[in-house]
């Protein structure tokens, strides 16, 4: 398990953006992969559409880093399903990510306003 750096830098915006969306969706409760994609898409009013092709590598990386945990459950006739939940390190990382995003957006807005004035 590797220690993750929550600092949001311009060159890693997409990565941190996707991670933040996934982790905050899991903060609202455990979900299957397809539920995560739907939750993010619907929660953003269709603005952040998440293709599963993009979703799985991020989910598996976060799982490997111990920030989320995937558990296989037997759901009767539907068969085996993998469900993800946020772990304690994941909760801490999400908090740090929120602070990092806040700082970045604040600086960005400041720069934009400065430009206008």
């Amino acid at each position: 398990m590797t220690e993750r750096d929550p600092a949001v830098e311009p060159q890693s915006l997409t990565k941190h953006f996707n991670e933040a969306l996934i982790l905050s969706s899991l903060e609202r409760g455990p979900k299957h992969g397809y539920q995560l994609a739907l939750d993010i898409e619907e929660g953003s009013g269709g603005r952040f559409g998440f293709k599963h092709g993009t979703l799985y590598p991020i989910l598996h990386k976060l799982e490997g880093d111990g920030l989320i945990a995937g558990e296989w459950t037997d759901e009767g006739q539907r068969g085996k399903r993998k469900r993800y939940r946020l772990t304690q390190p994941g909760v801490r990382y999400l908090e740090a990510l929120r602070v990092s995003w806040g700082t970045l957006l604040e600086r960005f807005t400041h720069l934009m306003e400065e430009e206008r004035s």
């Binding site: 397809y34 599963h52 590598p57 490997g64 539907r78």
Partner: protein, 248 residues
Amino acid sequence: MSRFAEALAEASSRLTVPEPVRSRILLEVAADMDDLYRTYLERGHAEEEAREGVLEHFDLSQEALRELAAVHDTPLDRSLRSLSGQARAPWARTLLALLGLFVALGSGGLLLRGELLSHASPLAWALLALLAAGVGGGAWRGWSLRSAGAGTLPPGRSGTGFLLGLAALQVLLGLAGVWVELYRSGLAIRSAPGQAMLHLVGWLHLASATLVVSLSGALVLGFLWFFLETHAQRLQAAAATRLLETTP
């Protein structure tokens, strides 16, 4: 039994990760595709519309598959696989069987006669208890795999990793026993320097007996892990194959 078998088979052919990871990924994707399809139907979409929606949503592009491979197939994984892959060859299996036989005949006979235990460190009893726990746990896991049958094994962990943990503990405890006895021999030599050689020979005897118990136990647990893991992987691969072969 996926209605998306064709799309899954196509993704499978482009997914460059080893088994059982490939099967696990495919089973996860298949389950999610199926659930999303049901969700679309529940929301009033027609069957064909729902099917197209799912296929569009699960666009497993080459880049996505490459990223998945990067997550699951690290350089360390590849080097470990090159080692374990050789164990599937007939010559490697024969060698493993001969090694197992050698361990069983060599240390097993001595253990049964009680010679090793009488000469080994008292820690050897803890090593034997660990071995018994490992063999018991392995037998239970083997029974669970047998009961699960082909294709019904949960596609997550195989549940055999504890055997490797116990094998490592066997080696560590054995080494700890050797070092503790060396310390005790050192103390004995300090109080009776004239008998130093006697104490050293005694320590060597005890250390070798302890290490034979420890390494034999670790080897037995390692073999058990290897055979159970191979069996579990076969079940997982069978589940994935069935999934891809069956069309609705």
